[in-house]
């Protein structure tokens, strides 16, 4: 009997995987923490989507607490999140940087014109290299970056007013009090 049972192992393993895949269908994979938390934002220098000809680099993020929001026009959740971001940028004095990920330049510019631009600057990451350096899994993702340019927190999936209230603002206040 034991000999026959071992032949069931592959089936059981697959059954397990299938269950996870099934759950994955209805799941919204959010908040995958980045292995980069506690590490400096990787060096990058990208063209600005919102100001053609100019660049945005890691240096721009230094000296203040900021958010870095990864988005794209092809991402449906980003669309849902956008209004929240616009609100956030209007009511709080925290700079939000954008990273437009693997996107269509003209389309992305039109998106900002139409839906409002919450970002102080948007880096245009055409090939997604910086996103890889940042360990981005999908869009939207939002990084909280402290004054020294260190990643302190990451939220995967769209921001909501409640998330901002409960998670982001307390953290930002704490970071603001740091030297």
């Amino acid at each position: 009997m034991g000999r026959s049972l071992k032949f069931l192992i592959p089936l059981l393993l697959f059954g397990g995987i299938a269950l996870f895949l099934y759950k994955g269908l209805s799941m919204d994979p959010r908040a995958i923490p980045s292995p980069l938390i506690g590490k400096p934002v990787p060096e990058f220098s990208l063209p600005r989507l919102d100001a053609p000809g100019e660049k945005v680099t890691r240096k721009d993020l230094l000296g203040k607490v900021s958010l870095l929001n990864v988005w794209a026009t092809w991402c449906v959740s980003c669309r849902a999140e956008h209004g929240v971001l616009v609100d956030f940028a209007r009511t709080h004095k925290i700079p939000v940087y954008g990273l437009d990920w693997k996107d269509d330049e003209a389309g992305a510019q039109a998106w900002l014109e139409r839906l409002g631009n919450p970002y102080v600057a948007v880096a245009f990451d055409k090939i997604g290299r910086t996103a890889i350096d940042l360990g981005v899994y999908g869009a939207p993702e939002t990084f909280v970056i402290d004054k020294k340019g260190t990643i302190r927190h990451k939220i995967a999936g769209p921001l909501s007013p409640q998330l901002i209230e409960d998670e982001l603002l307390p953290l930002i206040n704490k970071l603001n009090q740091e030297g």
Binding site: F7, A18, K23, L25, S26, M27, C75, E105, R129, G135
Partner: protein, 671 residues
């Protein structure tokens, strides 16, 4: 009209697939000869209609029929014809059609080249392939019809993703899919064998050439993909552990294990249930990979649920194919005699070790790709698995694999002893350790420890295989024996030899380029120069050049080695009008010892440009390795034993007869 014909052909192909799945199979159990005999003609018809459908889609692309939604989203009237054809498999619907078309092609090839096989085996194999085809065709017709029309008809198409407008990538998916789909043959043979309860050397011999052919395509496909990523993505990497790459690498690992395991089953009758399992795995991983990539779950985790209909269909299909086959395995495999006993020290053992290591690697990669999903579903928190993790896992396991690769071919079948093996490999061991030690000297390694490991493994592989060749030729009367072998006597040995050297080539390439490559991202003013690894790159500025469906900035560089001009490099930054996307085309001066690589970044004010200038030593050896592996595979299927069209030897005729007799009751076959 043409798209409707294509659509109709798809529906007809589906009905033939259903016929192909049911009648021949039932016929083998009820002993209805005419039903069994249906397998071949139906398989041909199935392929014919798939070819018509495929041709119709190509025709729609070539004639710029933008009333077809798929054409309108993926083509453009200014697209060169080559890319119009390549655009057929540029997105979801078309790649499914390519899959189905190739599956039909493999089935037709089996129908054509299986004269030597018992009729009931052919019937069952084709029937299983028919079942797989039903899944694909239903998926296409229900959720992803490539022939769907739109109204009003757009005047112009949205154009093919510029990333895909490249000859390397045009060929990449067909190669890869040939590999994926090709594993369905070994899979079908295994299912047929499990149904019949008859797993013998003949079964292994029939599956082997098909498996190797699929493996060759997959190897070439992966190599091509890696090469493409290197020159097209514009930043000189050759492997990223991207989920899409993992999806192709996992079946490759399983397929490699399968190929070796089949050799043992054919020659020694051992590993039977294990070989069957690997055959099931290789194709299951192909399916899982294709579907995960196609459903978008891996490229962007967040996109999985975007089209629930597709997701659910995919999952049901996976469960039926993989779950069903593993259930059959759990039911029938216990009755397979293990056969072919062997001692702990024997070639079988080393092949088993290799098999296990390859499977473990594949399992780890599978885990790495699915981990975020699993952790999330279990509420264990969230993790993200990046490429450092994959690299570490690979570097931990692969060296043992290479170690066993060196010893395995030396070991005798069935029984060997440590003393004999040690005598065989001791010279190689000493040489490779010395070579590794030399490479570790500070002046060579610059403090990079992995260089030592890479060099040791490379030299180990080369030395053991040279020794192995020497031993072989000693028994075969030297060079004359080699020529006789190559003339057809025993090419499979040299195939193995060549493929293993391909691995050595890959290791040295990967080691050198990862440790000694130089990458500089810099800003340059026209007229200035920069020196990297002794090469002076002179930047002569950027000009504007029009292309067929894009306009390009073209950079001009002259490269000097001392006073000699060694290359003129002209990287481009293209802007494709329809999709409005910029694309970098790197310029590369290739050679066996080093690549010089320049890609244009962004224009900075005052005529300056940001540039990537790379020096990539030995990077070609990585792909050379892939090509050698594929050539090795090719050489080994040209071995006389696998002559697909050949006269039946006496023993085969006997097997055939026995097989035909055993078509009846499965219970008697298992006994």
């Amino acid at each position: 009209m043409i798209p409707e014909i294509g659509h109709l052909a798809l529906i007809l192909a589906l009905s033939l697939a259903i016929t192909q799945a049911i009648f021949p199979l039932v016929g083998t159990f009820t002993n209805t000869r005419s039903w069994v005999a249906m397998a071949r003609p139906v398989a041909w018809g199935h392929f014919l209609f798939l070819a018509i459908a495929f041709g119709c889609l190509i025709q729609s692309f070539l004639t710029d029929d933008f009333s077809v939604l798929y054409v309108a989203t993926n083509s453009n009237s200014h697209l060169p014809n080559l890319y119009k054809v390549a655009a057929v498999w540029g997105a979801h619907e078309g790649s499914l059609l390519l899959w189905a078309f190739l599956l039909g092609g493999w089935a037709a090839a089996i129908a054509l080249f299986s004269r030597g096989l018992p009729a009931h085996v052919v019937a069952r194999v084709l029937s299983v392939m028919g079942m797989i085809s039903i899944g694909f065709l239903l998926f296409m017709l229900i959720t992803s019809n490539p022939f769907e029309r739109i109204f009003p008809v757009p005047a112009e198409g949205r154009d093919l993703n510029p990333l895909l407008q490249d000859p390397g990538l045009a060929m990449h998916p067909p190669m890869l899919y040939m590999g994926y789909v090709g594993f369905s043959v070994a899979f079908s043979f295994s299912i047929a064998a499990l149904m019949g309860g008859k797993l013998d050397a003949a079964w292994a011999r029939w599956s082997r050439p098909w498996t190797i052919i699929a493996w060759i395509f997959l190897s070439l496909g992966i190599t091509l993909g890696s090469w493409w990523a290197y020159y097209e993505l514009g930043w000189g990497g050759w492997w990223f552990w991207d989920p899409v790459e993992n999806a192709s690498f996992m079946p490759w690992l399983a397929g490699t294990a399968l190929m070796h395991s089949l050799a043992v089953t054919e020659k020694r009758g051992a590993f039977k249930s294990w070989t069957v399992l690997l055959a099931l795995f290789a194709f299951s991983l192909s399916l899982l990979g294709t579907f995960l990539v196609r459903s978008g779950v891996l490229t962007s985790v967040h996109a999985f649920a975007t089209d629930p209909a597709r997701g659910v269909f995919i999952l049901i299909f996976l469960c039926l194919v993989i779950g069903g086959s593993l259930m059959l395995y759990a039911w029938r495999a216990p009755s397979i005699s293990s056969g072919g006993r062997f001692d702990f020290v024997s070639r079988e053992s080393f092949l088993l070790i290799n098999n296990l290591l390859l499977s473990v690697l594949a399992a780890l990669i599978l885990f790495g790709t699915l981990a975020p999903l699993i952790y999330d579903a279990m509420g264990w928190g969230k993790i993200s698995v990046g490429f450092p993790w994959f690299n570490t896992m690979f570097e931990m396991i692969a060296p043992f694999l290479v170690l066993a690769m060196g010893i395995g071919p030396m070991a005798r079948w069935k029984h060997d002893d440590f003393a004999h093996l040690f005598r065989q490999v001791r010279v190689a061991l000493v040489i490779s350790l010395i070579a590794g030690g030399v490479a570790l000297l500070p002046m060579f390694s610059h403090g990079k420890m992995l260089v030592g490991l890479g060099v040791t493994l490379t030299v180990w592989l080369i030395a053991t295989h040279l020794k192995n060749l020497q031993e072989r030729l000693k028994h075969k009367h030297g060079l004359k024996g080699l020529l006789r072998d190559l003339a057809g006597g025993s090419r499979s040995y040299y195939g193995m030899w060549l493929a293993h050297l391909g691995v050595a080539s890959f290791i040295i390439g990967a080691t050198v380029v990862s440790n000694y490559g130089i990458e500089k991202d810099i800003r340059m003013t026209p007229g200035s120069d920069v020196t990297i690894a002794g090469y002076r790159f002179v930047f002569d500025g950027v000009s504007k050049t029009p292309g067929p469906n894009y306009t390009a900035y073209r950079g001009h560089f002259r490269v000097f080695d001392g006073a000699n001009q060694v290359a003129v490099l002209e990287p481009e930054k293209r802007h494709y009008q329809m999709q409005g996307r910029p694309m970098t085309e790197a310029a590369i001066d290739p050679s066996l010892l080093r690549d010089l690589y320049v890609s244009l970044g962004e224009p900075i004010d005052g005529g300056d440009w940001s540039l990537r200038v790379y020096y990539k030593p030995f990077v070609r050896w990585i792909w050379l390795g892939g090509i050698l592996m594929a050539l090795g595979g090719l050489l080994s299927i040209s071995d006389r034993r696998y002559r697909i069209v050949r006269k039946l030897s006496k023993s085969e005729a006997a097997t055939r007869k026995a097989g035909t007799n055993a078509t009846g009751n499965p219970a008697t076959e298992t006994a």
